[in-house]
Symmetry: C2
Subunit: 340 residues, 2 copies
């Protein structure tokens, strides 16, 4: 059995909060005997949802967070002015070193701001980056940055490669992750000014840089880590969702086009369900903010209980895998190398 | 019957040239009684491929182009130093006003260089842009720029919107095309510096700007024209291809997973074929280079005869639709407005 760890959970963030969040925590606790969850939320709304045995079991601890962050608050203001909000309190539990990780399905902007201003960057990291695991036909891969830095310098991209490499190693279990730069051609001289400069830098990094990857080859999973600026990465991530939905809907139209096709679809139903499940990236949990001094996981805003449970699982794997420690070590090494 | 027009075709460009190009021309001539094709290529390689009736019919004219552009030539050098190449001769036929359009499946870079240096920009257009038509579940839409300008200024994007709007109107037959800006969020303040500035400009253009579109909503066809810089546009285009291929391959795995699924797949075969055909954007022809002073179509490099025939059809629709004339008119109006 592993050593027991504490996870801090923001009960108030997300479209289905707090109901799906509480239910997700209950599922996670049943699956993982060696975790304790500190659940931060508005007492009057969350307490009635808690199962009786949770209180008794002692592994789900409800903590009152009276401040409410709403959609009209700017992320930075909310983080500064609402210290007793569920998000900030959960972040502070990580900052204090008590919680090994925190999970929130709330606004990405607030989590980014909170990560920077409450938890802080790892020394040497220029910009933290969101990473997401996407299923491909050859296997899952990491895409980073998928939305936190929309205007990037080449140096940021080079660091995203390192953080993504550590993450793929520790969480996906890939021994020497192939890190590729998302580009419009395979050749070194291709791309816009940003990626051309990033390409140069990435060739001199300690990770396994395999060069450019074209968008055509991204979905299959031809690389273990795909590096992009936050604008391009977010486009790829959301385009993946959109393409999957559009193709499923076009396929359904064809399935209903004739009696013959309908029968065929009926027979294929289990296969189609398995296919849909494979395509569902909520299976892979949430998106960590890499480069901050703690494990911070952004769960999908529309997370149901199952997706939120997956995000908690992700947080546990990251904490136990020592992702933050490995990134810190890389930064220290970089600093020493430059010091010589 | 329409007035007869001449199309200039580069017989030497593309992975399957000249065989598939000649075959594509023959298919196009059979379909369209009111076109004449000037076919530019190396006499010794192309002439043996011509059908006997083509010579007799007089609508397929072979013109010898002795210079050969190969992969080692830089696009700009090739265009300057090989005036008797099939590409340059076809471009010159457009420039001279004899041909109403030209089609090539050769290198994109060479076509872009040729478009700029041999045919020239429409007065007032800052940067010509490649446009492509992509099938969506709600209908086809135009994506522009899909690869010619990897580093853009906001002004370029605003013009891409206008050119895309004209193209959607004249070629897809949409009466008041909804032009949207590819972005990472729907709100006006979202995005990187480039798209934030472009958003401002696009609101003051004469076309129907509907705001930002998230990548999630692009594949369905929620807008008629999607505007992006050439880097992002190329990522979206190639990611569309890659997602379609990956999803089909994952679906096939499920289809072969059990006897039941295999039977289902067999029954659904016609439907799956129709689905694949819908997803096949070669159906929609090639990608025009909008903003140059003539109809220039880049056919897919891997075009077979059918895809090349579609690209010729595209060229005919663009020429007859008066796309170049409409863009020219817009530029004149812009100039007059600024003159006031």
């Amino acid at each position: 059995m592993n050593q027991q760890i504490i996870l801090a959970v923001d009960a108030m963030g997300g479209d289905n909060a707090p109901g799906a969040i509480v239910a997700g925590c209950v599922l996670a606790l049943a699956e993982q005997p060696d975790i304790v969850i500190e659940l931060y939320g508005a007492m009057d709304r969350v307490k009635p949802l808690l199962p009786a045995e949770a209180e008794a079991g002692g592994r789900l601890l409800m903590v009152d967070a009276p401040d409410v962050i709403d959609n009209t608050d700017s992320p930075v203001m909310a983080i500064r002015q609402k210290p007793k909000s569920s998000l900030v309190m959960a972040l502070e539990a990580v900052k204090a070193g008590r919680a090994a990780a925190m999970v929130s399905a709330g606004s990405t902007g607030a989590l980014l701001a909170g990560g920077l201003f409450r938890v802080g960057r790892i020394r040497g990291i220029e910009r933290p980056a969101l990473a997401v695991i996407i299923p491909g036909s050859l296997g899952p891969f990491v895409l980073t940055d998928c939305g936190s830095n929309v205007d990037c310098k080449p140096e940021y991209l080079a660091q995203f490669g390192q953080m993504g490499s550590v993450y793929a190693q520790k969480v996906l279990g890939v021994s020497n992750p192939r890190v590729a730069l998302a580009n419009i051609g395979a050749e070194a001289e291709k791309g816009n000014n940003l990626v051309k400069a990033a390409f140069e830098l990435m060739g001199n990094q300690p990770y396994n840089f395999v060069g450019n990857i074209e968008a055509r080859d991204i979905p299959a999973g031809a690389a273990d880590v795909v590096v992009a600026d936050g604008f391009v990465g977010n486009m790829i991530l959301k385009h993946t969702e959109g393409m999957a939905a559009t193709l499923m809907s076009m396929l359904k139209q064809e399935m209903m086009a004739s009696a013959r096709a309908k029968l065929g679809a009926l027979l294929m139903k289990p296969g189609l369900r398995a296919f849909k499940k494979k395509m569902d990236y909520t299976e892979y949990g949430g998106a960590p903010l890499l480069g901050v001094n703690g494990v911070l996981i952004k769960a999908h805003g529309s997370s149901g209980d199952y997706a939120f449970k997956s995000a908690i699982g992700q947080a546990v794997r990251m904490a136990r895998g020592g992702v933050v420690e490995a990134i810190t070590e890389y930064c220290q090494q970089q600093e020493e190398n430059h010091g010589i």
